[in-house]
């Protein structure tokens, strides 16, 4: 049954991509490539396919900017690195996924509108019905469906389980009312996955269901929020009597919390990648050259301190990556990376701002030979200790689950 469903999905995928590229990628069994062989393949792939103008973007890009890259990845069969091959993914081994991420980061590849690829796809592969997999997976691969996430609410941030958006059971469908917030790039999305309360009597984690909702459904309003980067990355999404077919319920009713949590797998390691801190330290170096700070003893000591912190972070990150490479499941101790990375990133950007003098107050990048944007970098570092579980929440997790401190 399951196998039949899988092959039919592959067939759908094949129908979508009639060009010979897809056939080529089907022939390509990535998992059989050695690590160095795969790394050079990725490098070649990026050099040949990645749009030069999108390298090292200063902010999170919209789908209108990244669409060309999304579609190219899709055509070439590279769009879903961690999905199994039978669902149209690359079927990479964990060690290859690590290489892919390393090379994308090194090349300065932009992050895509990847919620469908990173969240919905793996979720449906794990918990969805055959019908859901058939309906949604090929459209994620093709870029026809762009997803956003509806978890947080104005009164349910760190305490997410207290969420109040409700989905009332009306037989074959639900009626959804409520409000979601901090939905990244919801403006670009045509589908949203959300956590909604389906049982108000149950304990707070136990009355939540996981729903997939077409954003074109009547009663949905999206309002962008301008953040401190003067960017409209976040949105609010309002639901007013929105009808959602029960075909779009993932898993059992009232079991949505567990499903959402099961997604927090090794994706969490991304939040601890030293990339942001590395780039910021590069900016500090650029600033030092521009302002003649390399002979300044105070600057040198500060710079050395931050570089050494970065080297320690890279070494710690490497121990977790090694875990992933071996296919081990990460424990809650991975939270330490997120805390260390985001806080180091902020310490570096503090220094950038401090040593930039007046130029730290500029709204736009400073004119010069090398790209340099002290104020923008400082602002960009602010949300990293808040999103993806704030530093305070991460410390709670580490205190309880790793250090086993009492309640």
């Amino acid at each position: 049954m399951r196998i039949a469903a899988q092959s039919s999905i592959a067939a759908i995928g094949a129908n979508r991509f009639k060009g010979n590229e897809f056939i080529m990628s089907e022939k390509q069994d990535f998992a059989e490539l050695g690590e160095e062989e795969f790394r050079s393949l990725v490098r070649r792939f990026l050099a040949e396919n990645y749009p030069e103008t999108l390298r090292f973007p200063a902010k999170r890009l919209h789908f209108s900017d990244t669409k060309v890259w999304y579609l190219r990845l899709s055509e070439r069969g590279w769009i879903a690195p961690n999905w199994p091959k039978e669902y149209g993914g690359m079927g990479l081994r964990p060690s290859q996924q690590v290489i892919l991420i390393e090379e994308y980061e090194r090349y300065g590849a932009a992050r895509l509108n990847d919620q469908g690829l990173a969240m919905v796809g793996p979720l449906l592969i794990q918990n969805g019905t055959d019908a859901q997999r058939r309906k949604f997976l090929p459209k994620i691969l093709s870029g026809e469906h762009i997803w956003c996430q509806g978890y947080s609410e104005p009164n349910a941030g760190s305490d997410l389980a207290s969420l109040r958006t409700e989905a009332v059971d009306r037989g074959d469908h639900y009626i959804v009312n409520g409000q979601k917030i901090w939905c990244t790039l919801a403006y670009d999305a045509n589908w949203i996955f959300l956590l909604a309360r389906t049982d108000k009597e149950a304990k707070k984690q136990e009355g939540i269901s996981f729903l997939l909702v077409d954003m074109a459904t009547p009663g949905i309003t999206v309002r962008p929020i301008i953040n401190l980067e003067m960017n409209d990355e976040f949105c609010e999404v309002f639901f007013e009597n929105v009808r959602v077919s029960k075909e779009n319920l993932v898993g059992e009713p009232n079991k949505g919390w567990g499903i959402a949590k099961s997604l927090l797998g090794f994706e969490r390691i991304h939040l601890g990648s030293p990339r942001q801190s590395s780039l910021a330290l590069g900016q500090l170096g650029t600033l030092a050259t521009r302002r003649g700070l390399w002979e300044d003893a105070a600057f040198r000591d500060r710079y050395a301190r931050l570089s050494i912190d970065l080297e320690d972070l890279k070494a710690l990150y490497e121990t977790f990556v090694e875990c992933v490479r071996r296919g081990q499941r990460l424990g809650p101790d991975v939270s330490i990376l997120k805390v260390a990375q985001s806080e180091l990133y902020q310490r570096i950007t503090d220094a950038v701002l401090e040593f930039a003098g007046e130029e730290g107050g500029f709204l736009d990048p400073v004119k010069g030979n090398e790209p340099l944007n002290p104020g923008g970098l400082f602002i960009a570092a602010r949300p990293t200790t808040i999103y993806g579980g704030s530093s305070e929440i991460q410390r709670n997790i580490l205190a309880k689950q790793i250090l086993e401190l009492p309640s």
């Binding site: 330490i336 580490l398 009492p406």
Partner: protein
């Protein structure tokens, strides 16, 4: 604890080397022996140094054809980390430093005794504070020689005719003036006339610099061990100490600070291990110096941070000499500045490291 396997997952040899340290370090953090040796004449037990020799730790990094174990710096660091956790005062790092110089110079009769831990011969390389700079003149005063009163003899690097030679002086021809250190040991200041000693080797500047780097990294490892032990002592205390009718570790303000200590320990440990691996993988000289410097700077700073916080999180009991928290703090105070302070190593890292590190 539900820890991702890698955090504590090391190669099997490293594990067995670590386990072997149990021969000298009692389980459950019993520091009776360490306390009894504080502020004594020698500051350590010769029998324990001999045990270290028997275990092969002194010759761990010596090549096999020189009677050593032929192991790497990762292994030496693993031993030193465990010794640090047990606050073991026997000067393994000094003995290993001298053994590598003697082996290099082919001084096998002296080397055999040093490697066996039967004699302590300490290298008195330092003339100025907070530096790894050598050499010094034949008549220079040698300063900051750890546990000098327990040494049977000294190796004196001497700069002459544009090269560095190594001279051996027995303890009877060397005047030792000692100042006690916070950890219960002492530093000796030596009055020695190197011209009266025995010439052991010539042109040793390169091997001496390399040996000092190795000793520096081993000291960083010892400091990581110190912070690990101070952290677990503190963590246990937070779980057992009750105030306001509940364990103080249930308070969020303390939980978060405890996580900060945990993070510092994990970062320094990861940095140390990667530095040792880089060294063992045969990195070139400047890269080796850079990784040693970053590891020592990180270990010095973080050991001070963790042991200082250990006192604060214990409250008044932490300020008593009877309680062990202070022993870790005092050890960190001494070693943070030995073989170069964090400040010194940050400078050296920047001079040696940034160009190579950013090229990597």
């Amino acid at each position: 604890m539900n820890i991702s396997a890698t955090l504590n997952d090391r190669a099997e040899t490293l594990r067995s080397i670590r386990d072997s340290v149990g021969a000298l370090v009692p389980k459950a953090g019993n520091l009776q022996r360490i306390r009894s040796l504080r502020f004594t004449e020698m500051g350590f037990e010769p029998a324990s140094l001999e045990l270290m020799g028997k275990m092969g730790w002194i010759s761990l990094t010596l090549p096999e054809d020189a009677g050593g174990m032929g192991l790497g710096l990762s292994e030496l660091c693993a031993v030193c980390q465990e010794l640090g956790a047990g606050l073991v005062p026997e000067p393994l790092i000094q003995a290993n430093l001298s053994a590598s110089l003697l082996a290099h110079c082919g001084a096998s009769s002296l080397a055999d005794d040093v490697v066996a831990g039967k004699r302590l011969i300490t290298t008195a390389w330092q003339a100025n504070a907070d530096t790894l700079e050598i050499p010094v003149g034949a008549d220079a005063r040698r300063r900051y020689v750890p546990l000098a009163r327990g040494a049977d003899g000294f190796l004196l690097p001497v700069s002459r005719d544009g090269r560095v030679d190594l001279i051996y002086c027995g303890k009877d021809v060397v005047g030792v003036e000692a100042v006690p250190t916070q950890d219960g040991g002492h530093y000796g200041e030596l009055q020695a006339d190197a011209t009266s000693g025995e010439l052991i080797g010539t042109d040793i500047a390169g091997v001496l610099a390399e040996s000092l780097d190795r000793a520096t990294l081993a000291t960083a490892a010892y400091l990581v061990g110190v912070m690990e032990a101070a952290f677990s002592l503190t963590l246990e205390y937070l779980k057992s100490r009750k105030q306001f009718g509940r364990p103080i570790g249930s308070f969020q303000a303390l939980q978060h600070r405890c996580v900060d200590l945990y993070a510092r320990v994990a970062l320094s440990r990861a940095g140390l291990e990667s530095a040792a691996q880089t060294w063992d993988a045969g990195a070139e000289r400047r890269m080796r110096q850079a990784v040693v410097s970053r590891a020592k700077a990180s270990a010095s700073d973080n050991a001070m941070f963790v042991t200082r916080q250990a006192i604060q999180l214990h409250g008044a009991i932490g300020f008593t000499d009877e309680y062990d928290a202070g022993l870790y703090l005092r050890k960190a105070m001494v070693l943070a500045g030995q073989f170069g302070s964090a400040r010194y190593h940050r400078q050296r890292f920047l001079t040696e490291g940034v160009s190579v590190a950013s090229a990597a």
